[in-house]
């Protein structure tokens, strides 16, 4: 029997998801409606078939999300009969517990509501769709990654990860982030989405949108991302490679309307996914490392 690389990655991820569900009291899955979290949810439905996915999903809503992604999120939760827990950046800002940044980007502000939701719900394990190919800080992340009572990641004090034996032991106040698709690349994700026929929010595929150019990316015209004087608005055919906060996520010019088109486009791409479309990762060379140490996804 010939197992393909996708079969092997799928089998590994399902093994990890089942281990976490067996060993933890209150796991939850981070679900934003982005492709990696959609993939995670798909793997979870396969892991527990014919049973229901045995944990709730958690979304940290920046308040600047694309409306079609929120609609997709709600529809998916409804379809699978899941419980959705939302941590709201906007509510923290309204209460004066978080301050809006000068650059208007809300992605780095997600850490506080995330840790709050984890503590409030007493989640002891949180599944994320992080992949090691995304960033050099992620490249050193463990599949099960221990966080202290402040949600901090300590890269110098990580447990060795041996064979496929995962050590999820933690003490009161600590929790574990679990990354079952650590070993997948962007291309693996797209090939698997194609193979399994997984539905995604429509903005992952080429569509016409009013955009303007900033920092070499196409930014959507919207309430939170208005063009500045001199930034010309155009109607262009674009798609998104990552789906984050509208204020910092850029689109790429694309003709890819099917998963197959996207796979071809990603295979031929000369830019990394985050480099092409995430302004927040361009802040500094160690932007992700700093956010992760503070408890980010």
């Amino acid at each position: 029997m010939e197992l393909t690389s996708l079969d092997l990655l799928e089998s590994e991820a399902i093994h990890i998801i089942r281990e976490v569900v067996a060993e933890f009291e209150r796991p939850a899955l981070l679900f934003s409606g982005g492709k990696d979290s959609v993939l995670m949810l798909h793997l979870a439905t396969k892991a527990f078939w014919p049973g229901r996915v045995p944990f709730p999903v958690l979304h940290v809503d920046t308040g600047h999300n694309f409306p079609e992604v929120i609609e997709f999120r709600d529809r998916t939760v409804e379809r699978l009969g899941l419980h959705l827990e939302v941590g709201s950046v906007q509510e923290f800002i309204d209460r004066g517990e978080l301050a809006e940044r000068a650059d208007g980007t809300r992605n780095p502000l997600q850490t506080v509501p995330l840790l709050d939701a984890i503590a409030r719900n007493k989640f002891d394990a949180v599944f994320g769709g992080g992949r090691r190919d995304e960033d050099k800080a992620r490249a050193k992340e463990r599949i099960l990654s221990l966080r202290d009572e402040f949600g901090q990641w300590d890269p110098r004090n990580q447990r060795p990860e041996l064979w496929n034996l995962y050590n999820g032991r933690h003490t009161v106040g600590q929790h574990v982030r679990a990354f079952p698709i650590s070993n997948w690349t962007e291309l693996d994700v797209w090939r698997y989405i194609g193979r399994e026929g997984i539905e995604l929010p429509s903005l992952y595929f080429a569509h016409e949108r009013e955009v303007f150019s900033r920092d070499g990316m196409w930014r959507a015209v919207g309430e939170v991302s208005a063009p500045r004087p001199g930034e010309e608005v155009m109607l262009k055919k674009v798609r998104y490679r990552t789906v984050g906060d509208m204020s910092c996520t850029g689109a790429v010019a694309s003709e890819a309307v099917t998963v197959h088109d996207v796979v071809r486009e990603v295979a031929a791409s000369t830019l990394t996914e985050r480099g092409a479309t995430r302004a927040d990762d361009r802040i500094s060379e160690a932007a992700m490392e700093d956010r992760k140490k503070d408890g980010y996804f």
């Binding site: 029997m1 089998s11 050590n167 070993n183 197959h260 990394t272």
Partner: protein, 456 residues
Amino acid sequence: MSTVTETPLAHATLFRFATAGSVDDGKSTLVGRLLHDSKAILADTLDAVTRTSATRGFGGENGSTQRIDLALLTDGLRAEREQGITIDVAYRYFTTNRRSFILADCPGHIQYTKNTVTGASTADAVVVLIDARKGVLEQTRRHLSVLRLLRVPNVLVAVNKIDLVGFREDIFRAIEADLQSVAAEIGLPQLVVVPVSALEGDNVVDRSSHTPWYTGPSLLDVLETLPTTDEVERGLEPLRFPVQLVIRPQGALAPELVVADDAGAPLRDRRDFRDYRAYAGQLASGSVSVGEQITVLPSGRSATVIGIDFAGQSLQRAVAPQSVSLRLSEEIDIARGDVIAATGTFGEVSQDLYAELCWLSSKPLREGSKVLIKHGSKTVQALIRAVIGKLDLDTFGYEAASVLELNDIGTAQIRLSSALPIETYALHRRTGAFLVIDPQDGNTLAAGLVKENLRD
């Protein structure tokens, strides 16, 4: 969705390998070279590296062959850059026309045993680097000893910086002979030895014209054609299936439960799942087929496999390392931590064992310590009855010891709080391995390899 399979590599296999080397062997450069030449580095990353390289004096106007500092391609965390060290294993991904690779890039200088053990535990192959100017060092012997102990199926040695010894065959042959004699001494099979220059690219991806006397394949050619651990062991080892979970949804059935045949006609409806009960897990070794007799360990009760389910698909057969759910003919008491094995392939379960412990913690191991042991999907308490001896990695012999410290490898006698289906690591790479965990803070203390099953 079948259109996607037209893209190359949709069916390629996955190959995991690790690198091991001493300081300044050029490991970062070799990894950078593999990533660069296999086009795994995209333009934005390459631009950043080229800019940094220029500020460090690379790529002058004299047409130097080296435009970028390849080692920067594997540059790690800011915490590491600030201290000029590598603190942890980093995972890298690249794809060729033949395979997808997962590379565990293990730092060489500090805690090399810990990092080599970690990287090697999941590797199908390990590439050990040595400097052609220095030949076989003490650390090379130690690396090879650790790899022998962990039974890494394929060990390759890259004799790097061959350009710095003028591409001389006699130097390479002398090192190669040294390596093969060390391998024979410690019981490793014949090594694959390749002369390379990571900096100039000789024999890394393509065969080099500078070494006409070397007729073997390039390093990447070897990595592209070696069999994976599962391919090697699948046929040799009997079924071992540690049960992760019992799937018994009763009322909590998935809302979209459809079981259909290939033509889309429904085979089962929701009522048929009312009494559904299956055992979920990943095959650690071997294969399983519908109709096969199995025995549950440690209880020793037997049953027949009546179904292999995977997310609504009914399979006739599954092989390691697939994740599936097994349905059995008898309602026997099976819980997480039990192992389903092919009937007649397992002796007796035991509460006592000897094991080789690779000690990975700064907290030393002493006789009488109480620890936790995670084996397969089961965690039990254990008592370290005695530390028997410590492995001398230079001679691959044992010396007396009563304490194991960080980076030591030694033998201990262990008593378990309940019997486990323990097997020797020499025969079962996956089911002979376990973790030693600190019951106080939960940290991983050691990688354990079962040496011998003490039955009396």
